[in-house]
Symmetry: C2
Amino acid sequence: MQSNSRQVFFLSNGTAITAETLGMSLLAQFPDHSFQTQTIPFVDSAEKANAVTDDINRCIEESGQLPIVICTMGDEDLINIIKHSKALVIDPFGDILPRLEKALAAQHHQPFESHRTVNPSLYESRIDAIDYAMLHDDGGKMQNYDEADIILVGVSRSGKTPSCLYLALQFGIKAANYPITEEDMESENLPAIIRGFKGKLFGLTTNPKRLAHIREERRSNSRYASLDQCKYEVKAAEQMFEQFNVPYLNTTTMSIEEIATKVVELTGLHRVSKPAISHLDMK
Amino acid sequence: MQSNSRQVFFLSNGTAITAETLGMSLLAQFPDHSFQTQTIPFVDSAEKANAVTDDINRCIEESGQLPIVICTMGDEDLINIIKHSKALVIDPFGDILPRLEKALAAQHHQPFESHRTVNPSLYESRIDAIDYAMLHDDGGKMQNYDEADIILVGVSRSGKTPSCLYLALQFGIKAANYPITEEDMESENLPAIIRGFKGKLFGLTTNPKRLAHIREERRSNSRYASLDQCKYEVKAAEQMFEQFNVPYLNTTTMSIEEIATKVVELTGLHRVSKPAISHLDMK
């Protein structure tokens, strides 16, 4: 452990995905600091909460520094055990739930039911979207684009595959992708396979230098990875997008999450199942 | 819109994934209430913040109810605009950042840099994990299991593919999966392809009734989807796991997130890149 690295724990009686997501966003606000993070899911009994509290306290003795604990527990008895540690315990639920209770004129429950048991059909629509993305990756074994919500197009390594998977996993969107080939670039028309689906096409493009770097790691010293080839392909793809009015996005500086969110925003696609909680109507 | 459905907005100047994740966890605490949620990412200018504020206020007039706004803004000027709406505005950053500043004896910045630009190599390890999962899905085109961090095994439709993709996308873990075939079930040994990788195997199993239901939606009235067949396969797979000491998990009531998190917990796998923020040392 680095001496000036602050220890951070993300805790929950569930998956701890909420604690981790919120926690990482908070820590990103302190870019000059170094953090050593640890996510501890399923802290769902007094025994486990006591064991974690001991770990946290031991960590104070070892490092001489106050650890930060970000804890999204639905169970008040468990959070109270953690709060007895000597760390800085941040409990966003404890801060926010009373205000929601007041606004809704209701007490909160502690359901912690699995998403899947609560609403199998919503869950399955997300699984269907994943199946769809897997079958329609990279030009796909099948070309059942009628069912696609969106078809991402772009040159090899422009970010199509991870973006499609994220759209499916997080947003339940059926996303296919089609790689633009050199043959396509030399043609005067949109590739035949996607020509009939113009309204669903969305282009991804990237900086040729960045593309060459990514390709170089896959096929070192190849024509495929050469800067000239990348420049040629990116230019040809962008010309295609312009010529046929395909909306497109330059992904050079974007993360997968940003690409997927931007695509949803720009196309007005409907997120069908991100919440995976039955009683919520998603818009 | 349902008349008794409460309007909820998740806002951010970034992707709004943090606001949405935290918000959905909070709303899940009120299972008897109905919510209509809307996620608005990239609220990154005063113009956009004013437009959103107008939308929120209009929504009060239409529904006669107080909307709930959960807003993770790094920019104080923007959050102040939103706070001028008439809604209940929840600002977790505003509540928590001052406490972190005190603990770290530092002011927070507002970086909002893309993960990708901050640390390309961490980002690429996540992309590599996705590539790996795609190539090694369903027995895979390639069988380069040397590189695998984990190999999920189970009968068809036991949840292997979405779990592998989630492990790759969220945790940067290289997860392959191998479907147990009927031929494998009749053998006295572990399938030859995975036999040499016993330490990396992890089994997924599920309730035969649930499995039959899932398969029925894919291949209606088939032997594949029959309850008898599902019972036979699940029993054979579980016997295989027991016989060869392959740790396994019953996924019947679990979401993808829960399966992936449980697998990481039970195997002690190292999450390499979920944070995607350069200065964080992940444990």
